[in-house]
């Protein structure tokens, strides 16, 4: 339980801090916006500098070829669009529980806007309980990072598989939406920081490439939808643009002028409702490998809000979506239409529903635990939870 006297003091301090931070933003934001326009056509210089800066440890966004301050209007309404969304949730193995197991529940939903037909929903369930599934070779239980990566890669695989089932559908090529990053976070972070073994990293990479290839062959578009993104990759590019190409160094790169400003604040100023930004490529180490496989990752910002109430999302796509304007426009329009369904909280309706389908409720967790205990008891196996878990049960969680 919380000591509310202490909490109250911290909450007041936190609110003061947030107010002060907000006050310092406008000049910084105006400055960043002026740079976005100033460097808008400076693509070759920025691309050259970004390659150079990589060696000095710079992390940011590389322009893909569109002017930095470009605004792409909402494409015309699509006569037909088949949209599929996927999301996953899990029950991690509990070393205080009866027996260790890992449950992964992926919810998928498919909708044909304008058809009048109810969306189709289905689940993909993964249930791991064998030693070789839950433990590493040295007998340690798999790390949470590893299991999270499994959830992420299976989400991508299931989404791509659902799209593949709809290849050639008379309703048109499918648009597949994943919640959050398109690739598992472990992959995006790069091998040294992925917190999984090199072999596992390579396995995840292979699986991601196969899934993306399968999505590509459908003729449709696949994307990761990041709501309220916190990245500042474009701002880092603008900061880089301020440097003299001959003075790029770790020290100069560390001298970053935008503080806690985020890309989304910058593009909220630039983009009108429905408009998308230029395309950028994150310079994650994985992106070179993906490029070699034909799936270099790009992103753009999209204002899914309304006039006076901007709401920015970052949309991640493989390069082949960007190279085909029809695919890109279909995706752009589909996301906008999805966000209009819940206009008060602009977020793709199907991702909300996929999340709802994937979510494992606390009652369901309890029910599953009871079912496991009963099945074990019927086989004469006496099971018990740890003393710590029992105390938690007594205290109601």
């Amino acid at each position: 339980m919380l000591d509310w006297r202490q909490v109250r003091r911290y909450v007041q301090e936190m609110a003061d801090y947030a107010r002060d931070r907000l006050r310092t933003h406008p000049p910084t934001l105006r400055y960043a916006l002026s740079l976005l326009h100033r460097f808008s056509e400076d693509l070759e210089r920025l691309q050259r500098m970004a390659r150079e800066a990589l060696r000095a440890g710079w992390r940011g966004a590389i322009p893909w070829g569109e002017p930095l301050a470009a605004r792409f209007p909402l494409p015309a309404e699509q006569p037909q669009a088949l949209v599929i969304a996927a999301d996953g949730s899990q029950i991690y193995p509990d070393r205080h529980g009866t027996v260790p197991y890992f449950v992964l529940n992926i919810g998928l939903i498919e909708m044909r806007p304008g058809s009048g037909a109810p969306p189709q929903t289905w689940h993909h369930l993964v249930f791991w309980y064998r030693e070789e599934e839950l433990f590493t070779e040295d007998g340690e239980m798999r790390a949470l990072n590893d299991l999270e990566a499994e959830r992420d890669i299976q989400e991508l695989e299931q989404l791509a598989a659902a799209m593949a089932r709809r290849a050639g559908d008379p309703f048109g090529p499918p648009v597949g939406l994943a919640d959050g990053l398109l690739l598992p976070w472990a992959l995006a972070r790069g091998e040294p920081f992925a917190a999984v073994s090199a072999e596992r990293y390579r396995e995840l990479f292979r699986r991601a490439v196969v899934a993306l290839e399968s999505a590509k062959e459908t003729g449709g578009a696949i994307a990761g939808y990041v709501d309220r993104p916190t990245g500042h990759a474009v701002l880092r590019l603008l900061a880089l643009g301020l440097l003299d190409p001959d003075e790029i160094s770790r020290e100069k790169i560390a001298d970053y002028p935008f503080g806690q400003l985020r890309d989304r604040a910058l593009f909220a100023e630039l983009l009108r409702p429905g408009e998308r930004s230029a395309l950028f490529a994150p310079n994650w180490p994985i992106n070179d490998h993906l490029e070699r496989e034909g799936h270099r990752l790009l992103f753009f910002y999209l204002n899914v809000g309304t006039e006076g109430r901007p709401h920015l999302a970052r949309v991640e796509i493989p390069e082949w979506v960007a190279q085909d304007r029809a695919r890109l426009d279909r995706l752009h329009r589909a996301i906008w239409d999805q966000c209009r369904i819940l206009a008060e909280a602009p977020y793709p309706y199907l991702l909300t529903r996929a999340h709802e389908l994937a979510r494992i409720r606390s009652e369901e967790r309890k029910q599953l635990e009871g079912m496991i205990q009963e099945a074990l008891l019927r086989r004469g196996l006496h099971v018990s939870i740890s003393a710590k878990a029992r105390q938690k049960e007594w205290l109601g969680g």
């Binding site: 806007p113 969306p119 929903t121």
Partner: protein, 209 residues
């Protein structure tokens, strides 16, 4: 709210509906999440337990609780047809079911009226099988509780009679309805207008397809 559900299947056992979330001597509330097609009808017989006692009741009220997603969709002037269908056919929406206790069964005996104790909270609630309904309604005494209950309208009373008649084969159904009619005449002797309305409703529901 309980989330597990089984579609009604006469060849299987009783279908799980939900769990008791509020309980008193005469009524209890069942909380569950159901799609529109799985929501049981008014007047359906349900059962729950208190120890060795099986408590029998009927559904007299249903409250479909819209959640935040329902409310946000409703803010649209005309929600797309697909979304409306999704809400109705796919989503498990929270439902509260009001149940009026009619009696209980213990040691192979049937008792009408309130049990010694109400059902415990979170006790599972199931539909009744046709054989259980037939056995429980063998005597017309269950009607008294329905006639006197403030909670259940005469429409619910008629629906209950219809549900109990429906589990009986043709000739027995007619006998059962006559028996119930006589009981109603006895119970509502001082309320001829209401009696007429109730009998008309029963006739209408019994003749309905």
């Amino acid at each position: 709210m309980a989330t597990t559900r089984q579609r009604s299947n006469p060849s299987a056992g009783p279908a799980f509906i939900g769990r008791v979330i509020e309980s008193s001597a005469r009524t209890f509330l069942v909380g569950c999440r159901l799609t529109a097609e799985d929501i049981p009808a008014f007047g359906s017989f349900v059962q729950t337990a208190r120890g060795e006692t099986t408590i029998i009741g009927i559904i007299y009220d249903l409250v479909l609780q819209g959640d935040e997603l329902t409310r946000m969709v409703a803010l649209q002037d005309v929600p797309p047809q697909e979304i409306q269908q999704d809400m109705i056919e796919n989503r498990n929406i929270p439902v509260q079911i009001g149940v009026l206790t009619l009696g209980y069964m213990r040691d192979r005996f049937t008792y009408y009226g309130i049990p010694h104790q109400p059902p415990a909270l979170l006790e599972p609630v199931y539909t009744c099988l046709p054989a259980q309904i037939q056995r429980f309604t063998e005597q017309p005494d269950f009607i008294r509780t329905l006639v006197e209950a403030r909670e259940a309208s005469d429409d619910v009373l008629a629906a209950v009679v219809r549900a109990a008649a429906a589990v009986r084969p043709g000739p027995h159904r007619r006998d059962f309805l006559i028996q119930i009619g006589r009981e109603l005449v006895r119970l509502l002797a001082d309320e001829p207008t209401r009696l007429g309305q109730v009998l008309r409703r029963i006739r209408m529901t019994a003749e309905a397809p």
